[in-house]
Point group: C2
Chain length 322, copies 2
């Protein structure tokens, strides 16, 4: 049985991740179990926190929880949780802890896609017409042009798999939409992307900050520094403005380019946010999103016209798989 | 008579700057003249455009307009207009054309402040409590850490002069608020700013994208690439969300660090935006804002503890003054 055929997703949950952990993570786990009768959770944390969670789980739900206590001095819960995915003891992992720690653990234990130096964190944001994928929002603050090309491939594949758009339009974020706008990194990446043949989606050129809320493309590619600042600016502005979009930015993001579904949740996430994030992680598994993204990325690597990819070897972690 | 004592500001206007120039610039000039009876304009552009503007100006306003026709093949209108400030034939200049062209002309003709490699474009954005200054929003996409320190000095001085805050709080934009967050540039600049003694304002450390709409500081310093993307993202999100803040982001920004008041207007500015921009440029002169920023920057340079400033010589342009 492959992962995409499996009906009950097993989600490893980092109980210590998040500004208000473990309380909000425990709350989120309970909400998620209650909301999805097929969901299985693998909560990972110190024995006392695991016991506290188990004490709150109604007997009827208990059989769907397979906790992994981690003693102090062992690997951190997030590393242990990611390791469970690599070891096929969980199908996906979620943490609301430090993005850097989660990314490091994911690269170490699940491995990176062949020839990919840096993974990308992708978030779905509300736009004037529908939604769009913004990546990277913080996994790789200083990518090179080849990374941005691969992130475009991954983002387009992810948009095709999650937004139900047959040929997503992909833009590279810059400070002007005419060719040549922006810094050296954007000019180089724009040239590579113009020459590239994306297996899913179509590169349409440079876009600007306002294109993220206002649309016109389904995928916006940028470095993790700019993407993180922009995402938080959009989130804060929606909170400032109120109205129907105020709750519009999901607090969970998918890490693309690593050998397993890894979900990073906002550090300030509350219990309901964690529950949404767990449900999101489960959908990545049951809808086969991560597998589909991996297949499209593989198709890109197999073509002759994959510019800027210096090395096509699959970089495995200790338990990498694809 | 010094510039700050002069009551009638003379504003040089680039008639060819902007996506919809010259029509919207002509409209804006007429609106601005009508709104402020002490304003004097120096419109700069091709003779046919100047004639078109003059034909539309009521006789009663004509004495306040001192046009400078520029023949094709001469210096561009924006360069000519900036040159008028350097030559003291205008007190300030405004262009809605290419930011890069305006910045280049400003540096060439008005000169930069001593020891400053790159100027910064500062914009005032609405925040939950009041307003804040975001800089740089596009003049210098790739600054170094010393530039960011000077931009903090300039931004704090500008906030003190325009927001009526005695000691503006200054934050450095990053992707995490703990010391050490972000890339090498932020870590270096954070160290320099922590050691610096700002003559106006107080450095409070790293801030994040949501702090721009939600406040907590009065000045947010970042590189021109990130700042431009964030500003346009906030603008677009306010348009998406509608509501009371929808028209909240001004379409004019002040270029700080050059030897004269230079205002850059949004390329998509309409006539009323241009009129607001002209009025904004006039206030920079009549309120003595530019002079005050220059004095505060000078105080920073004179102290012993001005870290990261490699060279304290005043970089003059062809007509630099301070």
């Amino acid at each position: 049985m492959t992962r995409s055929e499996r009906r009950a997703a097993r989600i490893a949950v980092d109980l210590l991740g998040g500004d208000d952990a473990p309380a909000v993570v425990v709350d989120g786990a309970l909400l998620a179990l209650d909301a999805d009768a097929s969901l299985r959770l693998v909560p990972v944390g110190p024995p006392s926190v695991v016991d506290g969670l188990l004490a709150r789980i109604p007997a009827a739900l208990r059989s769907r929880v397979d906790p992994v206590p981690v003693d102090e001095g062992e690997r951190t819960p997030v590393r242990t949780a990611v390791g469970l995915v690599a070891a096929d003891r969980a199908d996906a992992v979620i943490s609301a802890g430090s993005t850097a720690a989660t990314v490091t653990a994911a690269v170490a234990y699940c491995g990176r896609y062949p020839g990919l130096s840096r993974p990308a964190l992708a978030v779905t944001v509300p736009a004037r017409r529908g939604r769009l994928i913004l990546l990277d929002v913080g996994a790789s603050p200083s990518p090179d042009a080849a990374d941005l090309v691969r992130h475009a491939v991954l983002g387009a594949a992810y948009a095709q798999a999650t937004l139900d758009v047959p040929e997503p339009r992909v833009g590279l974020l810059s400070i002007g939409s005419e060719p040549g706008s922006g810094d050296t990194l954007r000019r180089t990446a724009d040239g590579l992307l113009t020459a590239a043949d994306l297996p899913a989606g179509r590169y349409v050129g440079l876009v600007e900050g306002h294109d993220v809320p206002l649309g016109g493309v389904e995928v916006v590619v940028t470095d993790g520094f700019t993407g993180n600042v922009l995402l938080k600016g959009v989130e804060g502005t929606l909170r400032l403005a109120g109205g129907r979009h105020a709750e519009g930015v999901p607090r969970a993001a998918a890490l693309l380019g690593v050998g397993g579904p890894v979900v990073v949740c906002h550090g300030a996430a509350g219990g309901p946010d964690l529950a949404s994030g767990i449900a999101f992680a489960a959908r990545l598994v049951t809808d086969g999103v991560t597998d589909r993204v991996a297949r499209i990325d593989h198709a890109f690597l197999r073509q002759d016209r994959a510019p800027g990819v210096p090395d096509r070897e699959w970089t495995t972690g200790t338990g990498g798989r694809r």
